[in-house]
C-alpha cells in the first residue's frame, strides 16, 4: 500500500478501517521524522559549540577533574530551591487571598508587599536580608532585647528567605489569576449548599485553581533554580560559588562556568520532566 492507492479512486467502496489505519501511519511517520530531524539539529549545535571551544585551548580535562567538586553544590542548589518554592507558594496563596479580600488591611498589606518586592532587584533584597537586617538585630541586642539576634541570619536561611519573599510576590499574581479563573458558578454552587467563604475556597476553588497554575509554578521553580545562583554572593557552597572559586584561582573561566551552566541545565530538564508528570497526574478528572 502506498499513498498512491489512496489517491486513485478504486472500483467499489474502500474499507474505511484500512484507509483510517493508512492515514494514521502516514501521520505518525511524518511526526517521528520531524522529531528525528529536530534531534539532529540539537546534535549539530552541540558539535559546533565543542569545535568552537577547542579553538580557544579549552581544557576538558580540567572540567572533568573538578566536576565532582561542583556537583556537590547541586544538592545545596536543589535544597535551597525546593524549600524556597514551598515557602513562596504559601506566601503567594496568602498574598492572593489578601488581594482578593474585602478587608482594607489584607489588601493593603499584600499590594504593598508585591509592589516593594517586584520593584527592587533580587540581589539587593539578598544584601538587605543578609547584611542589612543584622544591623537592626545588633541594635536591638545592644538595647537589651536579645531576641533581636534572630535577625542575624546565616547565609543559607538568608538566601531561602530572600528567594521565598521574591518569588512569593511574583507567584501571588499567578495564584490570583488561578483563583479568578474558576467560574463564578462554582462559587455559587458551593455557597448555595451552605458553605462559608473559606470552605468554598478550600474545597472547591483552590483544588481547581492549583491544577490551572501547576505549569506556572513549574516555570517559577525552574527560574528559581537558576536565580538561586545569586546566593553565591553570600558564600553559600552551591554550584555557582564552587565553580567560581576554581575559575578565579586557575583562570579557567570557560571551563568552570560552562560546567556550572551544564549542571543547571540538567537540573531544569529534570524539573520540567517532573512538571509534565505532575500535570498529567492532575489531569485525570478532566479526561473524557
Amino acid at each position: 500500500m502506498s499513498a498512491n492507492t489512496l489517491a486513485s479512486p478504486m472500483p467499489g467502496s474502500p474499507d474505511p478501517n484500512a484507509v483510517g489505519r493508512e492515514l494514521m501511519s502516514i501521520k505518525r511517520r511524518s511526526e517521528t521524522g520531524l522529531r528525528i530531524r529536530v534531534a539532529a539539529v540539537w546534535i549539530g549545535l552541540v558539535v559546533l559549540l565543542i569545535v568552537g571551544l577547542l579553538t580557544i585551548r579549552f581544557s576538558p580535562q580540567y572540567m572533568i577533574e573538578h566536576a565532582g567538586f561542583v556537583l556537590l553544590g547541586a544538592g545545596v542548589t536543589v535544597f535551597v530551591s525546593v524549600v524556597s518554592i514551598l515557602i513562596a507558594a504559601v506566601l503567594a496563596l496568602l498574598g492572593a487571598l489578601g488581594r482578593l479580600s474585602a478587608s482594607a488591611i489584607a489588601q493593603g498589606v499584600s499590594s504593598f508587599y508585591i509592589s516593594v518586592i517586584r520593584g527592587t532587584p533580587l540581589l539587593i533584597q539578598i544584601y538587605l536580608i543578609y547584611l542589612g537586617l543584622p544591623q537592626i538585630g545588633q541594635q536591638l541586642v545592644n538595647l537589651g532585647i536579645p531576641q533581636g539576634s534572630i535577625l542575624i541570619l546565616d547565609a543559607v536561611p538568608a538566601g531561602i528567605l530572600a528567594l521565598s519573599l521574591n518569588y512569593g510576590a511574583y507567584m501571588t499574581e499567578i495564584f490570583r489569576a488561578g483563583i479568578q479563573s474558576i467560574s463564578y458558578g462554582q462559587r455559587e454552587a458551593a455557597l448555595a449548599m451552605g458553605m462559608t467563604r473559606w470552605q468554598m475556597m478550600r474545597r472547591i476553588v483552590l483544588p481547581q485553581a492549583i491544577r490551572v497554575i501547576i505549569p506556572d509554578i513549574g516555570n517559577q521553580f525552574i527560574a528559581m533554580q537558576k536565580d538561586s545562583a545569586l546566593v553565591s554572593v553570600m558564600g553559600v557552597w552551591e554550584i555557582t560559588f564552587r565553580a567560581s572559586r576554581f575559575a578565579r584561582k586557575d583562570a579557567k573561566f570557560m571551563e568552570m562556568f560552562l560546567l556550572a551552566a551544564l549542571l543547571y541545565w540538567i537540573l531544569t530538564i529534570i524539573s520540567s520532566r517532573l512538571q509534565d508528570w505532575l500535570e498529567k497526574r492532575m489531569a485525570h478528572a478532566y479526561e473524557r
Binding site: S183, Q186, A189, A192, M193, Q208, E287
Partner: protein, 253 residues
C-alpha cells in the same frame, strides 16, 4: 393535594436594584408546603433574580424573606447576617442552568460534599445518603464518574441529587433545562415530576410547558420586576387575564 397551614416561603415587598436598574419592584409571594410553583416571564423580567434572592445569592435591596422559619429582612445600611444566610441556604436546594457540578469530584463526591463539609458528617455516614440520592435521579451507575464524562442531562440529574442530599425544605430550579440539548430535556423533567409527586416544595423558573401542565400547582407570570398574574396552569395558559401574559404565551407556546 393538601396544602394547608403556614406558608413555607414568604416573600414580602421584595425590591432589588442593580446599581440604577430596578429589577424587582415590590414582589410578595407565599409558597405552601408541598406546593410546586412555576415562574415564567421573558428574559429580564426578574424571575431568576427573585429566585436567587430567596437564598441570598443575590442580596435583596429591600423587603423580607422567610424560608422554613428563618427570616432575613433586607437592610441596605448593614451587612447581612452571614449565619442566617447560611441557615436559609441549608433549607433551600438550588439547581442551576449551567449545572455547576464540581469538575474535580466524581458524581458521588459531588453529592456528599455538602454533607461532609457543611453538615460535618463522616464519609461513612455520607456515602449511603449520597447513594440513595443518586438512585433517586437514576444515576447510581455513574457514581464514580467525573462530570466531564457525563451528558448535560446526566450532569443536571447529579446536580439535583446534590441538592436533595442536603434535605432542603424547598428546591429552587433556575432554568434547569435551558442549557440542555432538546433530546436530553425529558430525563431532567421526569426527575422533577417525580420530586413533585413525592411532595417536594418547588419553585421553578422555566418555560417547560410539559412540566407546568403535569406537575405545577400554580404558575406566576412576571414582567418588568412585578408579578402580573398567577393561577392554576390551565387558567393561565388558556385564559390569561392580562394582555401582557397573553402576548408572552403567544410567543412561547
Amino acid at each position: 393535594m393538601p396544602m394547608n397551614g403556614k406558608p413555607i416561603v414568604r416573600v414580602q415587598n421584595l425590591h432589588k436594584w442593580f446599581d440604577m436598574l430596578h429589577v424587582l419592584k415590590g414582589v410578595s409571594l407565599d409558597v405552601m408546603p408541598r406546593e410546586v410553583v412555576m415562574i415564567i416571564g421573558r428574559s429580564g423580567s426578574g424571575k431568576s433574580t427573585l429566585l436567587r434572592c430567596l437564598n441570598y445569592l443575590e442580596q435583596p435591596s429591600l423587603g423580607a424573606i422567610r424560608v422554613a422559619g428563618v427570616t432575613i429582612a433586607a437592610d441596605p445600611k448593614r451587612k447581612p447576617d452571614q449565619k442566617k444566610i447560611r441557615d436559609i441556604r441549608l433549607r433551600t436546594g438550588m439547581v442551576f442552568q449551567e449545572f455547576n457540578l464540581f469538575p474535580h469530584m466524581t458524581a458521588l463526591e459531588n453529592v456528599i460534599e455538602g454533607l461532609i463539609t457543611v453538615k460535618k458528617m463522616t464519609r461513612e455516614q455520607a456515602v449511603p445518603i449520597g447513594e440513595i440520592n443518586l438512585a433517586r435521579v437514576g444515576m447510581s451507575d455513574k457514581r464514580d464518574v467525573h462530570p466531564i464524562r457525563l451528558s448535560g442531562g446526566q450532569k443536571q440529574r447529579v446536580a439535583i441529587a446534590r441538592a436533595l442530599a442536603m434535605e432542603p425544605a424547598v428546591m429552587l430550579f433556575d432554568e434547569p433545562t435551558s442549557a440542555l440539548d432538546p433530546e436530553l430535556v425529558g430525563e431532567v423533567i421526569s426527575v422533577m415530576e417525580e420530586l413533585a409527586r413525592e411532595g417536594m416544595t418547588m419553585l421553578v423558573v422555566s418555560h417547560e410547558m410539559a412540566f407546568a401542565r403535569e406537575a405545577a400547582h400554580r404558575v406566576i407570570y412576571m414582567d418588568q420586576g412585578e408579578i402580573i398574574e398567577q393561577g392554576k396552569p390551565d387558567d393561565i395558559f388558556s385564559r390569561p387575564s392580562d394582555p401582557r401574559t397573553y402576548q408572552f404565551l403567544e410567543r412561547v407556546l
